[in-house]
């Protein structure tokens, strides 16, 4: 079976007033039906990766190198009709702010049906019944009535459910979720996370879930890729990352989560701030903030070390840690 996703050496640079090397040589692969969390802070390149996957990068201001294949389709070569078919049918996206992503002047049923009609070429009645079915599947109570609601008549959690229904209506093979629970309340966030988990099982699609919250990543994903300064610095199963994060940045993030930290104790905070990425990093981008930094870290980019299976770390210390065990 073909891989669901195969990203090779993806490099994205934005030019304009300032040049930003947003993504630098990112490689990533996913099997069918896998759930991957892209974990990182603002500016780490996680959202840009999603945009590249959907072919949403502004063509005039960005230059993209490398390759992206989804189910064997070369995404970067798509354009026009083919790109439109690919978006929605093959890959679709759930955004952080459903209030902004849904059209305020159409009912939610109309919006879902419209997308189904466009991609599947079915009649309006069939599309509406699909829409109703989708609202049921995302556990919206009295879906029949909600079909005729406008987005503003729904609560934040309900809107996000509608957004998910819209994204899944055409049965994409890959769902991209860009911090879909960040704007929600805690008690609503957990509902949406569990819903996405169930729907993933039900539909069998692959999910890339972008988040800055390790706890959310644990709840949703089987695998985690940690991004920093436009690179993947570590990847592994969620268990491996949580129990045995090897990259000093991953370890810092875990410590900063404050789970089980003694009250009032001094936090082991990562000093400083991420680099601005105006030039392409030619050394470990984390070196200026790292407490284990060695001269070699500043001399060249650390190689990506694959330890066992699909576990990999971009750190010169990765081997040392492995050896010590």
């Amino acid at each position: 079976m073909t891989k669901l996703l195969e990203i090779n050496d993806l490099t994205v640079r934005f030019s304009g007033k300032r040049t930003v090397h947003a993504i630098n040589n990112v490689s990533l692969s996913m099997e069918q039906g896998e759930t991957l969390a892209l974990l990182g802070e603002s500016g780490s390149g996680k959202s840009v990766t999603l945009k590249a996957l959907l072919g949403l990068l502004p063509p005039k201001r960005s230059s993209v190198e490398g390759s992206i294949h989804v189910n064997g389709t070369d995404v970067l070569s798509l354009s026009g009709k083919a790109l439109q078919r690919y978006r929605g049918a093959e890959v679709s996206m759930v955004f952080q702010e459903p209030a902004l992503a849904l059209d305020p002047v159409y009912t939610v049923g109309h919006q879902i049906a419209e997308s189904v009609m466009r991609h599947k070429g079915v009649s309006k009645a069939d599309a509406l019944s699909t829409a109703l079915d989708m609202l049921d599947r995302v556990r919206i109570p009295s879906a029949n009535r909600r079909l005729h609601s406008y987005p503003h008549e729904l609560s934040g959690g309900m809107r996000q459910r509608v957004m998910i229904a819209l994204a899944l209506a055409c049965r994409p093979r890959l769902l991209l979720a860009d911090e879909p629970t960040t704007a929600l309340d805690a008690t609503v966030q957990i509902q949406i996370l569990l819903l996405l988990r169930e729907l993933q099982k039900e539909f069998g699609m692959g999910v890339i879930f972008v988040t800055h919250d390790i706890g959310v990543a644990v709840e949703i994903s089987e695998r985690v890729a940690v991004m920093y300064a436009g690179q993947i610095v570590e990847e592994g199963t969620t268990r491996e990352i949580i129990r045995d994060g090897r990259h000093p940045y991953t370890q810092g993030l875990l410590a900063a989560n404050l789970h089980d930290v003694a009250r009032g104790a001094r936090l082991n905070a990562i000093p400083g701030a991420p680099p601005a990425l105006e030039v392409k990093p030619d050394a470990c981008p984390f070196a200026p903030r790292c407490s284990h930094v060695m001269p070699a870290c500043r001399a060249a980019l650390p190689p990506m070390v694959t330890t066992e299976g699909r576990r990999r770390v971009a750190c010169l210390h990765a081997d040392a840690v492995v050896a010590a065990e």
């Binding site: 934040g156 309900m158 309340d185 609503v188 569990l194 410590a255 404050l258 905070a269 701030a273």
Partner: protein, 349 residues
């Protein structure tokens, strides 16, 4: 001369035994106007019957979801929103009687969530930090501002003449903290002050807040939706739901036992950090109700698993748990005389 020596808070009046801040029966309803003539059609009951006190040197954490009234409470405390009813007593002096609004604002300062929106884009960092000290007529505000910038970790030589947009989120939040502290307040209200920051920067700012609290003897009211953060920094936690206080307790006590069903749901909604023990079932269904027309009786009864007839009609009173008087809860399950079938038994497991 160090910053500690120039820090000049207003004098302590009641001694360490007197709470720094007492809030009694605070209420704020916002009118919702509409229609042709702009008449008031409904009222958002943002804050209702809120009472609590903060001891000197203590940090009180306030948690709750959007619409629970935690930010409105913060704005009421500092007089940015006018209260409908209730008393605010700062170190023994009631606001509006022996304490003017200007004096209150000298003693209580606030740090907001959005570090960018809270800074005037046309003022340099130095001017922003010095503004409050200037207004309050403190001696040499610019020099004071530089010292405070230095103290929060912003080199004044590098940052004094920059504009807010040239700084990172973490640096801007340091500016906001410096601005609040430049007025030598005794109480600082931190309204989601670290929520918008990246995790690694959040940890730095939390460390800074801890240091400043120790150095200047500050008292904090720390508002956040992140229970882990609140637990880390607070001594006591106050939980709000739809404008009301449902539970107040020392951190360890509430972490050991969440006495209110809502608090319990809020705690179990925290994402698990254990990949082998992920959350199996969401603790609550649906979104929080609209504060425009909150449910009668106990406002949580529409989502509560243990709701009985009494909960729909009777408003529960905030009272100490039997055996732990410091742990206050507003729930009929804990009140033997409430009329709830399981009254006095506490929340079932």
């Amino acid at each position: 001369m160090s910053v500690t020596e120039t820090y000049a808070p207003s004098a302590d009046t009641g001694g360490p035994g007197q709470p720094l801040l007492i809030v009694r029966d605070l209420q704020k309803h916002f009118p919702v106007s509409g229609g042709l003539l702009g008449r008031t059609q409904a009222k958002v009951q943002a804050v209702d019957r809120v009472s609590f006190s903060v001891k000197k040197g203590e940090t009180l954490g306030i948690v709750g979801e959007s619409g629970c009234g935690k930010s409105t409470t913060a704005k009421l405390l500092i007089g940015l929103t006018e209260k409908d009813r209730g008393e605010i007593i700062f170190d023994g002096h009631a606001l509006g009687e022996r304490l003017s609004l200007k004096d209150l604002r000298r003693g209580v300062q606030m740090v907001f969530q959005d570090s960018y929106a809270t800074l005037n884009p046309r003022l340099t960092i130095l001017d922003s930090v010095a503004f409050g000290a200037q207004v309050q007529g403190l001696a040499d505000p610019k020099c004071l501002a530089r010292k405070m910038m230095d103290r929060v970790g912003l080199d004044p030589n590098r940052f004094a003449h920059r504009y807010p947009h040239e700084l990172s989120g973490g640096q801007r939040q340091r500016v906001n903290i410096a601005r609040a502290l430049a007025m030598s307040p005794r109480l600082v209200v931190l309204d989601e002050a670290v929520s918008a920051l990246d995790k690694s920067v959040e940890a730095q700012v939390l460390n800074l807040l801890g240091d400043l609290r120790a150095e200047f003897g500050l008292t904090y009211i720390f508002i956040s939706h992140d229970l882990n953060v609140v637990r880390f920094i607070s001594d006591r936690i106050l939980v709000m739901y739809l404008g009301e206080v449902v539970e107040v307790a020392p951190v360890d006590s509430i972490w050991a036992e969440q006495a209110h069903p809502y608090t319990r749901s809020l705690f179990s909604a925290m994402p698990s950090m254990d990949p082998d023990d992920r959350t199996k079932e969401p603790p609550l269904v649906g979104d929080p109700p609209n504060p425009i027309n909150p449910p009668k009786g106990c406002r949580f009864h529409t989502r509560c698993r243990f709701a009985a007839e009494a909960c729909k009609t009777k408003v529960p009173k905030l009272a100490g748990l039997s055996g732990n008087a410091d742990h206050l809860v507003a729930c009929h399950l804990h009140d033997a005389a409430s009329g709830h079938p399981k009254a006095g038994q506490g929340v079932p497991a």
